[in-house]
Amino acid sequence: MKVKILAALAGIALLVHQYMIWFYAPVAQSGPVQKIFYMHLPCSWWSLVSFFVVFVSSLLYLFKREPVYDRVAGAAAELGVLFATLALVTGSVWARAEWGHWWLWDPKLTTALIMWYVYAGYLVLRSTPMGRDRKALVCAVLGIVAFLDVPLVFFAAKLWGSAHPDGLARKGSGMEIRMWQTVFAGLTAFGFMWGAMLLTRAKQLAQHAKLEALLVWDDE
């Protein structure tokens, strides 16, 4: 029921968000290409939230050893990688249109890319053949270590960028109020979608675990 409500809200909010992007928010100085930002930012934001959920669920799993936390961590990591991929692709397209480069040594972009690598590795670990409990345990450990790395990666990328001529810090945005409203509408809409997807995936994983428990292996 919760999923249906969230999905319905997500559908409506996404439609409203699209309307705001194309008809409500003013066109920026750089032209219509700036509108990609309204989808880039929510993807980036919700990917970071996903990674934080992986961290919290992993901690809870280590202390409570309840499989539900492992499933939530797995579902959140999948969503995090998905949203980070979308953020990287939209960011890259936007950078190409705005600055003429597909990739820039921007601390936020670089952090997103490294986090994408880290959590893609986490998903590889989740798919390796291993005992169920052991896998949940080692994934929880990696989920914690991975999130601890985020601030250090950001700081390292910032230091590196400051030492390079192609390092580019984004200047103050100077956005109008209607632009900000569109940004917040996007964050809300993507939030509903993220919630619906997280719950659905966690439920799927619970069903999968239940089926595996019912399965009787017969080698003969």
Binding site: L62, I114, Y117, V118, A120, G121, Y122, V124, L125, T128, M130, G131, D133, R134, L137, V138, A140, V141, L142, I144, V145, A146, L148, D149, L152, V153, F155, A156, A157, L159, W160, A163
Partner: protein
């Protein structure tokens, strides 16, 4: 705990040096990488100081994976891991012992990589020697605290080298970037600037993951498969 950590480290070093293949493989692979990257040097041209630093740390990162893979693999046979877990040695001393053994083996392999970088990549050490050694030791501690923790993740896995590389390399980025930049400064004839921020980053990385390793290692080093 320290005495038992020393025992574990001595046992690991003994086994690695006498019959293990991790150190030999790490040294050979690192040398091969440095030599292959030297082929990218244009005829009569030079490899930049920063690129040389990057190649050195890339060789070290691969060496780290091979060293820790070997350190954990030697306990796979004959239920040796279960034996250690059943012994009175606390699990933290295993982590510390593995870390010390890994650090020693990594330093030995880097003592080969450094002259190879200078010879094959045409570098000269211009920068302060203290910076070179401080970077080497600080960054190596960062590498081994992660290696000693996550090396145990892939225990019992068939494709553990590739699994470990995929997991460990992105996590090491802050310490690798610091090592690359500081080694670039040491190889460059220009005066080193902004070293304190990078050394601070290495120190923060070492402290954070040493704490995380101490807390998390007992969860990953277990008798479960």
């Amino acid at each position: 705990m320290l005495r038992r950590a020393y025992t574990i480290a001595a046992k690991d070093l003994n086994l690695s040096v006498s019959g293990g293949q991790g150190l030999v493989q790490a040294v050979l692979l690192g040398l091969l990488l440095i030599f292959l990257f030297s082929l990218s040097k244009p005829l009569g041209g030079q490899i930049t100081a920063q690129a040389a630093g990057a190649i050195f740390w890339l060789a070290s990162a691969f060496g780290l994976v091979l060293v820790f893979n070997d350190l954990f693999a030697i306990e796979e046979a004959n239920g040796a891991r279960i034996g250690i877990l059943s012994s009175p040695a606390p699990v933290h001393s295993v982590w510390l012992g593995k870390g010390v053994a890994g650090l020693s083996l990594l330093l030995v392999s880097q003592l080969v990589f450094l002259p190879a970088t200078i010879a094959f990549l045409g570098q000269t050490i211009h920068g302060p020697w203290w910076l070179l050694w401080a970077t080497l030791l600080g960054a190596d501690i960062g590498l081994v605290v992660i290696g000693a923790l996550l090396g145990a993740l892939s225990q019992g896995q068939a494709a553990r080298e590739s699994l470990l590389s995929v997991i460990v390399f992105p996590l090491l980025l802050p310490v690798l970037l610091s090592g690359i930049t500081l080694f670039g400064m040491c190889f460059s004839p220009e005066a080193a600037e902004g070293t304190d921020s990078w050394l601070g980053l290495i120190f923060a990385f070492d402290c954070l993951f040493a704490g995380a390793g101490l807390f998390l290692f007992p969860f990953v080093y277990s008798g479960e498969e």
